[in-house]
Symmetry: C2
């Protein structure tokens, strides 16, 4: 698992880059994140401004900048907040159960929304390195750490041989299918397809 | 393999949507395709115009339109022409050998170029459905058919059990790693990583 090891702490909803100085209630915060993602889906990353976010969520730009370093961090935090559950917290007692729980948490509606977000972000990450950096630090790395915990528990239970070669590639197999499905099949990934893929490809690769 | 079955004929380099009316030599054609991809990498799909392609390749717009229905078809044909070999023609005698040959054909330089192209196209396919349609018809579907032929030969040789569940998901595993690597690791896929991934994840998923 060395290839996916990260030094970042596990995901914790509500945690943010500049903490301790905000007076926002959790409800206001949720409303703000939802506004950010909505604007992102509709207009894309480039056209998204802190002004528009402030206007839409009825707070001042100063309030936003007190809490977040800038647009990349705010977008990354909003995306993380949207995740219904941190991967590392999923612990059903079997790896298949854990994977099915991960898929269940992103029901089809969520997956389509995720695809719209992925679309908005896919070109932006190339044009804006600070966005990719924020996404990696606040979203991708914590999720990789969480996935690592899920897999470590499967190794402890003896489901997967410790040191199994496929362990390091599980992130690629899971993220890959999410990004490849729209290209290959012309439609977003749905939960049924994701479940079949896990059973037919990911678990067998791990020797399960 | 029903999930990846396509009705499109295997890829044939030089074949184009409007054939029989062009008087271009193969050299001129190769030069044109190379100009198209170069402009695409530099300026992106949206900013690419038939005018710029005509100017850069010293031919008239009329010549371009006699041969290609439009920008989507020209871009898709240029991308297909760039592929050093059609997947279906790779036949080393073992599936592992075939996969290693596929990776070898895209050496690291090619992979970086491919990443630049993927970047230019990743947002464009969402904004321009006619581009996605041209890419699917001229590039993706023929490659899927070629991959299907490679896998069918492995089944015939008895390397893979006929009807193995993972067969339908090989395209997702292969395309997935190409698109996921830049997101997960912040760098394009390289040949060494691709070879390890095939050995550690794709072949075991197929029971090899």
């Amino acid at each position: 698992m060395a290839a996916v090891a990260r030094s970042v702490a596990p995901v914790k909803t509500g945690d943010a880059p500049r903490s301790g100085r905000s007076r926002m209630t959790p409800e206001r915060e949720a409303e703000l994140y939802s506004a950010v993602l909505d604007l992102l889906r509709k207009f894309g990353y480039e056209a998204l401004t802190m002004e528009a976010i402030a206007a839409r969520s009825r707070c001042s730009k100063a309030t936003l900048y007190r809490r977040w370093a800038g647009k990349p961090e705010l977008v990354a935090t909003a995306l993380r907040h949207q995740r219904p559950v941190a991967l590392g917290e999923i612990d059903t007692g079997s790896l298949r159960g854990d994977f099915q729980a991960i898929v269940a948490h992103m029901d089809e509606r969520h997956m389509e929304q995720d695809t719209a977000l992925l679309r908005a972000l896919s070109s932006a990450v190339h044009a804006y390195p600070d966005l990719l950096q924020a996404l990696r630090g606040l979203l991708i790395d914590p999720e990789l750490t969480g996935l690592e915990a899920v897999l470590a528990r499967a190794v402890e239970r003896g489901e997967i041989a410790s040191g199994a070669a496929a362990l390091a590639y599980v992130p690629h197999m899971l993220v890959g299918v999410l990004v490849a499905q729209p290209l290959l099949m012309g439609r977003p990934l749905d939960a049924t397809f994701a479940r079949r893929y896990v059973d037919a490809a990911v678990l067998p690769a791990l020797g399960i």
